[in-house]
């Protein structure tokens, strides 16, 4: 295999291209008067084609475009993760956007391009391309967060995300500059090839660069102390966008962190300590802050911070077990978190609802199935067997204990027990509380039902057959780095 292949081989970016073509079609269709209605379908087709292309790439290991793209199992796995996320978010979004009167075709184009950006991030070993991918992912996200322009909440979420996002990107870029200064290249493969030499040559530059890159991606996954934007943006953004936020950019950030810090700059002592501290802080702060929330979206925001913490535990540990556990956890998390957001979105399509806890009261009486599904997702988030959430945590913590990070595992487990409290509050409110206000029934739509079915099957399926999923996530371990 020629690692610095000069070949301009389009077949390795077919999934990206399909998304791009769909986005372009949507943008062209804007001028048609029924664009609102056809745009989601174009987007859907684009994603499905993209998924098909990914399956064609399965198992191929290729590099192209002068080494700027590496199409390896790791990247392809993440491409699939991004596509599934986009697909589910799209299905969640459709009815919501109509009910809130913000169903504009551009939204779907932005969703597609953002997904494409994530793919770019995950499928390269070049830091500059990772940076560009990050920007292609983020710029649409800024707009999507503020998409409900006339809502003060949404536009505030947009500006906050924009400022913090651009701030973080600047640090990331500075980090890349330092790495470039130390190694004369931004290609991770070349850096790793000469790693010891470069490290002995200019250690301070390399370490600064790593720290700043870590900060940049830590921001994307919502690691403490770079997390402050998460709750505000999650609360303010339109709910389907929040759903997308809570998994898409997070998965992309983790892909980049894995590629750079686990496959790339492994065995740097200082890094593992920093990861250790970040993991502990992220888990604890996320969980503790979630205790007092009265808004479900905000609660899920803090919970997503906590979950990023669990994944950081896996990154701290390193090694094949932990990485496959991280990928496993990520997939599981996508399932039950998007499921939870689908329920929240469904609740919010009722007029006048703001996702406050009080709006859940009576859910179990009016919609017993929906309440049961919500309960399942909450238990999965809290990590009960036999849901996917339990095995995600089980693999991560057992990997940690096996590698001797016993305290980290203990803190992680304590945290996951703490988290039960607030997840249980959601269940308790929807089952056991009563109020004088009557519950306004929700209207199901086909797309939401599809999402709920997929996520329920995913949550339970991964829990009942964790082995198959673990094998699958282990197959993602092969990367060019």
């Amino acid at each position: 295999m020629d690692l610095t292949s000069a070949s301009i081989n389009f077949s390795i970016i077919y999934p990206e291209i399909s998304l791009l073509i769909a986005a372009a079609l949507i943008l062209v269709s804007v001028f048609h008067k029924s664009a609102n209605r056809i745009a989601p379908y174009i987007a859907l087709i684009g994603i499905v084609v993209s998924i098909a292309m990914i399956f064609k790439q399965w198992g191929h290991q290729e590099s192209g475009f002068f080494g700027m793209i590496t199409c390896d199992s790791f990247g392809v796995t993440f491409k699939l993760i991004f596509d599934v996320t986009a697909l589910l978010s799209l299905l969640i979004a459709h009815r919501y956007m109509i009910s809130k009167g913000i169903n504009r075709p551009e939204f779907y184009a932005l969703l597609l391009i953002s997904t494409m950006g994530m793919m770019v991030m995950a499928n390269t070993t070049d830091l500059i391309v990772i940076f560009l991918g990050l920007e292609i992912m983020s710029v649409p996200l800024y707009v999507m967060a503020g998409f409900a322009k006339r809502s003060l909440w949404s536009s505030e979420a947009g500006i906050k995300y924009f400022i913090m996002g651009a701030f973080a990107s600047s640090f990331l870029l500075m980090g890349i500059a330092f790495i470039y200064g130390a190694s004369s290249t931004t290609d991770l493969r070349r850096i790793v090839a000469d790693f010891h030499f470069i490290m002995s040559n200019s250690p301070a530059y390399m370490l600064t660069g790593m720290a700043l890159i870590l900060v940049g991606f830590g921001f994307k996954i919502g690691a403490v102390p770079f997390h402050s934007w998460v709750p505000d943006v999650y609360e303010g953004a339109p709910t389907p966008v929040t759903a997308f936020f809570s998994v898409g950019p997070k998965a992309a950030g983790i892909a980049a962190l894995l590629r750079i810090f686990i496959f790339g700059f492994a065995n740097v002592m200082m890094l593992s300590t920093v990861f250790w501290v970040l993991a502990v802080l992220t888990m604890s702060v996320g969980n503790i802050l979630a205790l007092k929330q009265n808004n479900i979206k905000r609660l899920l925001a803090y919970s997503s911070i906590a979950h990023a913490g669990y994944i950081l535990v896996a990154l701290t540990v390193g090694g094949n077990d932990a990485i496959s556990a991280a990928i496993f956890y990520l997939v599981a998390y996508i399932m039950f978190n998007l499921g939870a957001f689908a329920v929240v979105t469904l609740m919010e399509t009722r007029s006048g609802c703001k996702s406050d806890f009080s709006e859940l009261v009576g859910l179990a009486k009016v919609h017993p199935y929906l309440a049961a599904v919500l309960t399942l997702f909450m238990f999965a988030l809290a990590g009960f067997p036999p849901t996917a959430g339990f095995f995600g945590k089980f693999y991560i913590f057992s990997a940690a204990i096996k590698s001797g990070y016993i305290w980290l595992a203990v803190i992680g487990m304590l945290n996951s027990f703490l988290s039960v409290y607030y997840y249980l509050r959601v269940v308790k409110t929807s089952y056991f509380d009563s109020s004088d206000k009557s519950f306004i029934p929700v209207k199901y739509s086909l797309s939401i039902i599809i999402v709920l079915v997929i996520t329920v099957i995913g949550t339970l399926g991964i829990g009942l057959f964790p082995q198959q999923f673990l094998n699958w996530s282990q197959s993602a371990l092969f990367a060019f780095l």
Partner: protein, 186 residues
């Protein structure tokens, strides 16, 4: 002290001063102009570092386009007055922030001072400046061969930025059915 050094010192001071003036300005128009001064000085530094092409691009793109866009928005929103910001807060309240930024600069300076690299022995690094370093040709050659893919990515980035800007700034008429009320969440 040779001419190079004099130019460096002057433009470095101008760049830093311009930047400082920008962040301490209360009037946005003045801030844009200060930033422009800083950028011009930075362009001089670029050219000193043999980045002739990029120096020119910096002036054209930044000073010529991006900052004009800033000015344009300021004019559009009629922001020349600073009343709406309210009274400025005291320096003391921000002392921690100054300190943090100062620490960051100190860290960087220390790192740069302590371990400026001996990169010459790296693979692909030349001791001598190659012919035509920093000219349009040399940059363009790389841009359309090795960096073709990232270059194309920037086109997507700019496309999406345009779409985003249009979506955000457009005043909606028919397409946007009114939400419940202006203050309504989402």
């Amino acid at each position: 002290m040779n001419l190079d050094a004099v130019i460096f010192i002057i433009s470095a001071i101008v760049a830093v001063l311009g930047a400082s003036m920008m962040i301490f300005q209360r009037n946005p128009v003045m801030a844009v102009l200060s930033f422009m001064v800083s950028l011009l000085a930075q362009a001089v530094l670029y050219i000193q570092l043999d980045a002739l092409f990029l120096g020119a691009v910096l002036i054209i793109v930044y000073a010529g386009a991006v900052l004009v866009l800033f000015l344009f928005v300021i004019m559009l929103l009629n922001l020349r007055t600073t009343k709406e910001l309210g009274p400025s807060s005291s320096l003391m309240r921000h002392l921690g922030k100054y300190f943090l930024s100062f620490l960051l600069i100190m860290e960087f300076v220390f790192i740069i001072k302590s371990s400026f690299f001996k990169g010459a022995s790296l693979v692909g690094v030349m001791n001598m400046k190659p012919e035509g370093f920093g000219t349009v040709t040399s940059v363009a050659t790389l841009l359309f061969t090795k960096y073709l893919y990232p270059f194309e990515l920037t086109s997507i980035l700019i496309l999406v930025a345009i779409v985003g800007a249009v979506v955000m700034a457009r005043k909606d008429k028919n397409i946007d059915r009114p939400t419940e009320n202006k203050l309504g969440k989402n």
